[in-house]
């Protein structure tokens, strides 16, 4: 199972863009209004820093995953304990993106189809891919669909350009202020920061090293630019007030495409591509959860058997989330931004990096 740097680039792109376009925009626009684009730039910069730290850390142990080198760095017990938040995060992400996928599909296309069918089919496909192809299959899928996603997005931007009204972006800064802009940046950065899962993917890259770091940072930069365009387009189309109230402003914008009377109803293309990106994201998470769990319990070779456990658990978890139906804005704010962002994306990687470099120095001095 090997992927190359280009595949890693597309994987991170697909992972970042799909869900970010769907769920973060409303939260950001609500707090940063017409200055949301500044929030996205800010989020991009913070995302790059988070990714860089994680990539640096992994570069020190290019042949090991997070689960392995945390033990190397902290010793057996502490090393095993410190990755538990990541397992929680991974399961949490799988449950939530499936829930969001279900909600979105139910609202847009399949109004009456029961939840278990939509969730079950998605998990089924992901399971099949993971079981037979593993990470390599996902690398290839991303490499194939990533460019298509880009083309569709660029086409969308082009076809909706006639709706844009740039004065909607004014006034800059006066209405919001620094704090609102920073607060608006939290939602996108908490999703951009998901690139820390590279700590699990790093050893699967053919020649991990400088080029890999470059691919990761480039992927993050490109995703930020696309998201930036997305949010600019949304604000210029709907204005800050209306777009802050729409649940999925980006897709409402796509629905507005109306050119020469016959170019209409583009949303179905965007939705199809969006589903592929959800599929990629889910597959990556399914893979790292299973593989990570296998390594954690010390049975790396039988990681495929663990998928048999992870898939049903995800299914049950998602059904539970759907039944309890917590509002996703609240989850994003009160769990994801409050705990996952600071702990999993910032604190743990930084801590591991610090301990690891101190250890190396101490060793060097000896």
């Amino acid at each position: 199972m090997k992927i190359n740097n280009r595949q890693l680039f597309w994987m991170i792109m697909m992972l970042e863009i799909g869900i970010n376009l769907l769920i973060t925009m409303t939260a950001t626009i609500q707090s940063a209004k017409q200055d949301s684009w500044i929030s996205y730039i800010l989020a991009g910069v913070m995302g790059l820093i988070i990714t860089y730290v994680a990539a640096r850390l992994s570069s020190r142990y290019p042949r090991q995953t997070l689960i392995e080198y945390s033990v190397v760095i902290l010793g057996k017990w502490a090393g095993k304990l410190i990755v538990i938040p990541f397992f929680l995060q991974w399961f949490w992400v799988m449950g939530l993106i499936l829930r969001d996928e279900f909600l979105f599909i139910r609202l847009s296309v399949l109004y009456k189809t029961p939840a278990w069918v939509i969730i079950g089919t998605m998990i089924g496909v992901v399971f099949y891919t993971m079981y037979h192809g593993g990470i390599e299959a996902i690398g290839r899928v991303s490499e194939l669909w990533g460019p298509i996603l880009m083309v569709i997005l660029v086409l969308t931007f082009g076809l909706t350009a006639n709706n844009l009204n740039w004065p909607m972006l004014l006034p800059v800064y006066a209405d919001t202020g620094l704090w609102s802009i920073v607060e608006g940046a939290l939602a996108p950065v908490s999703l951009l920061g998901e690139a820390v899962l590279l700590m699990m993917l790093f050893p699967f890259v053919e020649h991990p090293g400088k080029e890999t770091r470059k691919a990761l940072l480039l992927a993050l930069a490109f995703s930020t630019i696309l998201l930036l365009f997305g949010v600019l387009w949304v604000i210029m189309t709907f204005g800050p007030e209306v777009s802050g109230r729409l649940q999925f402003p980006f897709f409402e914008m796509v629905k507005l495409v109306y050119l020469m009377e016959f170019i209409q109803n583009m949303d179905i293309f965007v939705m199809a591509v969006w589903l592929v990106s959800i599929f990629v994201k889910l597959s990556i998470y399914m893979f790292i959860t299973s593989y990570g769990f296998a390594q954690w319990t010390g049975k790396t070779r039988s990681w495929k058997k663990i998928i048999w456990g992870v898939a049903p658990v995800t299914f049950i978890l998602t059904m539970l989330v759907i039944t309890l139906n917590p509002p996703s804005g609240l989850l994003l704010k009160s769990v994801w931004i409050r705990y996952v962002l600071p702990v999993n994306m910032v604190a743990i990687p930084l801590f591991l990096l610090a301990v690891s470099s101190i250890k190396a120095k101490v060793k060097h001095q000896k």
């Binding site: 009456k112 204005g239 007030e241």
Partner: protein, 419 residues
Amino acid sequence: MFKKIIVLSVALSLVLTGCWDRQELNDQAIILGWGMDLLEDGRYLATANLVLPLASKSGGQQGGEQGGRSGFMTESAYGKNNRDAEQNMQRKLSRVLFPGHRRNIFIGEKLAEQGVFSILDEYGRSPMVRPRANIFVVRKGTAQEAMSLAYQLETNPAVAVQKIQEKSGAPISRSLLDFFISANGTGCGIMPALTILPPEVKIDKKSKNDSPPQTTLGLYGAAVFNGQLKLAGYLKYDEFWVRLWITNLLAFRTFTTIINAVDEDKPGGAAEDALSGASRGKTVTVSVDTFKSDITPIFTGDLPRFRILLKGKGYIEENNSPLNLSKPANVKKVEARMNQYLEKEIQKVVTKVQKDFKCDIFGLGDTIHRRHPYRWKKLSADWNTIFPDLDLDITVKLDLTGTGLTGESLLPTREGGDK
């Protein structure tokens, strides 16, 4: 193991056929237009314009009554709101109401007067409906009256109003979205308004195949809503373009003024004549297709003032005046007279909006908000009381780039004309 997966995928393919959301086309009643009226007793009356599948298939494009059937039907029902009425309507229909193509929404005048807060939410909430839609107020009538009228050029009157709106020079079929955006801005909403237009002169049908003008649906202009989203009044067909020009939305429009004599300043042929609605006189028509507006707020006294510079590019399409248009100086005269006339016309409409509607539909507040955000913070709360007393300095600058196919008219030089 592999077998298991095959079994699984076969099982999945069975469930994947989408049985839950299967909705055959001939089980759907496709809604093209939707109307809401408020009755005297406070109930809502909803009217739906439905596509008649057989009629539209059998080439009944030639309007209303091909083969004794019209291309559309209307159905109505009482209800507490949109969805309730839709459910009540369903009991009369053999097919499921499908609002996915609901592009045109009609609102009766009575309902508009009482305020549209009570019904407008659904048009932005329902996931079945697309955000690109038209919304109209039916002036002096109910939505049902307007929707029941057959339209000769199109099979379906709901399609007809959409196309009429596209040809009015306003932004194309996004009036619902624009209403939401403007109502969230400085607080006033604006919608296009329709009205039922009887023919100007009634002519009896003498034989079966005669086709004299009939009573039909037409664009009336624009309906202005105040901060409570209640109807404040209308801008007529010869007024509503003013708002579009000032807000940079106008696409095309022709203007006609009177120039009676060669010397533009001579009495008896001033810009006021055209304003007074004089039907006689020597007219010039200019067709303008590029519009630009530049609003500059000026802060000197207590109240802000505004300098509004309106620019346009067009050409002369009709000239019944004595001016010889092959001379560039005369084209300049037309320009000057046209600018004068338009400034007066625009001033008249702006005053009407300021005094009668007291509602900033020109985006003046938005301009201050965008250019002077900190001053706006002090002004925004009282904007609706400030707006009627604002001092607006309106300048029109037309640039006439052509005189059509001829310079001098093909007619011989007339009395008092210019050689």
